[in-house]
């Protein structure tokens, strides 16, 4: 499921006030004033800002997540991504250039 579209940073296009839940793989390109929860893979695209947490199986972050990331599998934080609060996952990759600050609970 492709939720919203890619927009340049500062112009999120679609804005959502509230939590979002997915029952399939999801690609988010929007400003979300809440949390994002999914049963499968979640991709937070560049320009996306999630004010809450992102929870899923495998999570790929290229945008900004202000409430932490919790993955049941692998979490990948890209070179221009920002993640605050923390990260929980089975395995983790933080690319050079990414901004991360928070609690790490890996493995």
């Amino acid at each position: 499921m492709h939720f919203g579209e890619n927009h340049p940073p500062g112009d999120p296009g679609l804005r959502i006030w509230g939590d979002v839940k997915f029952r399939a793989d999801a690609v988010i390109g929007a400003e979300v004033k809440g949390s994002v929860t999914g049963t499968d893979k979640i991709i937070v695209t560049r320009g996306t800002v999630v004010a809450g947490a992102v929870e899923g199986s495998d999570i790929r972050v290229q945008g900004e997540v202000q409430g932490g990331v919790a993955g049941r599998g692998q979490v990948w934080i890209g070179s221009q991504a920002k993640v605050k609060v923390g990260c929980r996952a089975k395995s983790l990759r933080i690319e050079p250039g990414a901004e991360f600050r928070g609690e790490l609970q890996i493995g």
């Binding site: 692998q74 395995s91 983790l92 928070g102 609970q105």
Partner: protein, 230 residues
């Protein structure tokens, strides 16, 4: 076949005294009258040539003042040209108890039954198979294959903790990069480059910072994490 320097005999244009100079010399001072002359003004006499072996050199950094200097490859010790510190260039192996401090520019191996009980050891490369309790400084790498419980901290280039090995420190550690296949426990760890935690690796720290982090499936981290600006 060693490299050689070719020398030629040149004549001083002032006093006609002959002396030996490197074939590629640009200018020199006459050893007889002190006259300074350039190579263009001194014609070689063509009498004879001496072939001299070039001394192979290597670079080293003084542990005290950080000055980069050159020493002969075979040298076992030297003196810093800037601060005068005595530099021990050889390698050292600790097989039993060692209580004094150490400072080497070569390798330090603390064997399986070795115990470094001094307060500080510095060597370009440190292999720790036994035990250590003092501060370890390894500008190139520190490889832990044993059980290290350091009262203080450690610093250097690359930190390698091999599977089954444990490194526990009482104070912060600072390295350029890390390869953790064993266990690392410390209050604070700062890696100015990449940190990789392998499938059997574990890092338990109050705070950990890095520019790049990879935790492979099976690896563990429990810490407050923070990326450093690249």
């Amino acid at each position: 076949m060693p490299a050689v320097l070719t020398k030629i005999e040149v004549t001083c244009p002032e006093c006609r005294q002959a002396q030996m100079e490197s074939q590629n010399f640009i200018s020199t001072v006459c050893r007889n009258c002190g006259h300074y002359f350039k190579s263009g003004r001194a014609a070689p006499t063509g009498k004879r040539k001496i072939r001299r072996t070039v001394i192979k050199k290597r670079e080293l950094t003084c542990a005290e003042c950080g000055m980069l200097q050159e020493v002969a490859e075979e040298a076992q010790s030297s003196t810093c040209l800037q601060c005068g510190r005595h530099l021990e260039l050889g390698h050292r192996e600790i097989l039993g108890e060692h209580l004094g401090n150490l400072s080497l520019e070569g390798d330090l191996k603390i064997g399986p039954k070795g115990n470094f009980g001094g307060s500080r050891a510095r060597a370009a490369r440190i292999l720790l198979q036994g035990r250590a309790s003092g501060y370890l400084e390894a500008p190139e790498w520190l490889r832990v294959e044993g059980q290290a419980r350091l009262r203080t901290g450690a610093s250097g280039g690359r930190l390698e903790i091999r599977p089954g090995a444990v490194m526990e420190t009482g104070e912060p550690i600072l390295f350029q990069s890390g390869e953790i296949e064993g266990e690392l426990r410390c209050p604070m760890a700062r890696f100015t480059g990449p940190l990789r935690v392998g499938p059997q690796g574990a890092v338990v720290a109050e705070k950990i910072s890095f520019t790049e982090l990879t935790v492979e499936p099976g690896g563990r981290i429990r810490a407050q994490g923070e990326t450093l600006a690249g």
